[in-house]
């Protein structure tokens, strides 16, 4: 039975080398890093080593890394933790943010903050002019994701951060999809805060981090014993933190090899799909995109149907259709690109990872056209051209 995993943007397997480094911290070296005895000290050393690994992966200082329980918490800490220090004013996000940014933004809006959602063009690139013009005297923060989870488009983050600073605001980026896949240097980017997540880069679930530039003051969301320089209380998830550090270090070490290989595989797959299925629209920017992202819409049929058919053939992919997401609306990201709801319902995302091969891509290109054909034969919207 075929089993091909093309859903790495949803989550990745834990790299066995990462797991190996985590395992001792469950049963043998289980100390609480806050304790002064030997086991406590060993755990503290491991946590600080992982902090140094994550910092090195971002070009950051060790004191600028705060461990969180994942990317969503990091995004919440960035937006709410920064803005709740002020009286309600104004902030800016893009129209294609992940719910982990979109929802805290809406929560702040309910607390009296004004928020502007900056549109993107047909490739998913933010409208830089609209972004620049959205700043007001009371704009405190702008947050734009580094790379989009649905269509893979990478934003001009350095420029956006510079513009925010010119207007006197801080800049945050949700880089959950990007860290580990493309080189990130917080110094060169000029960002004030950056979120990342362990399970998107072959690390464990339930661990993430927020980079906080020195001098950027936050108030915590989780109050307690004052861990993580008072920014995130709660006994540290030591195995998770060790795993995150190991995963960032491995991704960094292997990126030069992995990235061009993935990009070639991505482009091969995209070309094969576009050549073998009519009425397919490739989504996202052609070149400024994540190395493993292939996103497209298929006219006249619906995404969940494709996903389920592919699943019965052993291919695991994702869809931005309303049905697949469990809501009634198709993906807000695909609608933001300017596509109609009907076409947005037919979206599919393949996200490739380290273990994927050319043979798997070729197998997909074999299996996919007959599935589309079968569903189109079933569709009342399909009129053979």
């Amino acid at each position: 039975m075929t089993s091909v995993y093309f859903d790495h943007a949803a989550t990745t397997p834990v790299d066995p080398r990462v797991l190996e480094q985590m395992l001792p911290f469950f049963c043998d070296r289980y100390g609480n890093p806050s304790e002064l005895h030997r086991l406590g000290r060993e755990a503290r050393v491991a946590v600080e080593r992982a902090r140094a690994q994550v910092a090195a992966g971002l070009g950051a200082g060790e004191k600028e890394i705060v461990f969180t329980a994942g990317g969503t918490e990091a995004d919440n800490l960035a937006l709410i933790g920064y803005l709740q220090r002020f009286e309600p004013g104004h902030f800016i996000i893009s129209a294609i943010e992940h719910p982990a940014v979109m929802e805290p933004a809406r929560a702040l809006n309910r607390l009296g903050w004004a928020v502007d959602f900056i549109p993107v063009d047909g490739d998913g690139v933010i409208d830089v002019d609209a972004y620049e013009q959205a700043f007001r005297d009371d704009t405190k923060l702008a947050s734009v994701m580094y790379a989009n989870n649905v269509v893979g488009t990478i934003q001009p983050i350095a420029e956006l951060a510079r513009l925010a600073h010119e207007k006197g605001a801080v800049f945050h980026t949700d880089a959950v999809q990007a860290v580990g896949s493309v080189p990130i240097d917080v110094g060169a980017l000029g960002v004030d805060m950056l979120s990342l997540s362990g399970h998107k880069l072959y690390g464990p679930k339930g661990i993430g981090a927020l980079y906080v530039r020195r001098g950027t003051r936050l108030t915590p969301l989780i109050h307690g014993g004052g861990h993580e320089r008072r920014l995130r209380s709660g006994t540290e998830n030591v195995p998770g933190i060790v795993g995150l550090g190991a995963a960032v270090e491995l991704a960094q070490a292997e990126m030069a090899e992995a990235r061009p290989r993935l990009e070639a595989l991505r482009d091969h797959l995209a070309r094969g799909i576009l050549a073998s299925v009519p009425d397919v629209r490739y989504l996202g920017h052609r070149t400024e995109r994540l190395p493993g992202n292939v996103a497209f819409t298929v006219r006249y049929i619906e995404g969940e149907s494709m996903l389920l058919q592919l699943d019965t053939h052993g291919f695991m992919v994702s869809s931005g259709s309303a049905c697949a997401s469990g809501s009634l609306e198709p993906s807000h990201v695909i609608l933001a690109l300017g596509l109609g709801a009907e076409e947005a319902h037919g979206s599919l995302r393949l996200s490739l990872g380290r273990e994927n091969t050319q043979a798997e891509a070729d197998a997909f290109i074999e299996v996919f056209p007959p599935i589309v054909d079968k569903l189109r034969q079933m569709s009342p919207l399909y009129v053979k051209g």
Binding site: Y300, I301, E302, G303, E304, S305, L308, Q309, T312, S321, A322, C323, A324, G326, S327, L328, E329, P330, G340, A341, E342, H345, Q377, M378, S379, P380, L381, Y382
Partner: protein, 143 residues
């Protein structure tokens, strides 16, 4: 999230297609919400002699369409009119809660096909007797 029976009807849908010069055709849903179902019927001696469907939509939309065609083939119009969306979902062993609204309209499409037949056959007077409740326009409460 789907029962085995839903997956069976989705993977091997029964009665896919469109009857040429059908006696009655019913369509419901719209592409904006992601589900469109079209059912065509041939009627012989007040019974559904043949029924076919075409569906744009998710797994549940396809499975309910397929199931309703199986449930009503050979039935009298009055019996077929009794088959509700809920009964179709039950026959499939249930649907996930978020699929009960948009993706569970196959019986409505069938009822519209029956109505279409009755009108075309000049039996408009029979509509209220056979179809006790006509399906409403499919609408969303959310914008």
């Amino acid at each position: 999230m789907y029962t085995d029976l839903v997956m069976d009807h989705f993977s091997n849908p029964r009665n896919v297609g469109e009857i040429e010069d059908a006696d009655g055709v019913g369509q419901i849903g719209n592409p904006v919400c992601g589900d469109v179902m079209r059912i065509s019927i041939d009627v012989d001696d007040d019974r559904i002699a043949d029924v076919k469907f075409k569906t744009f939509g998710c797994g549940a939309a396809v499975a309910t369409s397929s199931m309703v065609t199986e449930m009503v083939k050979g039935k009298t119009l009055a019996e077929a009119a009794e088959v509700s969306n809920k009964a179709v979902a039950q026959a499939l062993g249930g649907l996930p809660p978020n699929k009960m609204h948009c993706s569970n309209l196959a019986a409505d499409a069938l009822h519209l096909a029956i109505q279409d037949y009755l009108v075309k056959a000049g039996r408009e007077a029979d509509v209220p007797r056979i179809l006790k409740a006509l399906p409403k326009e499919h609408e969303h409460s959310s914008p």
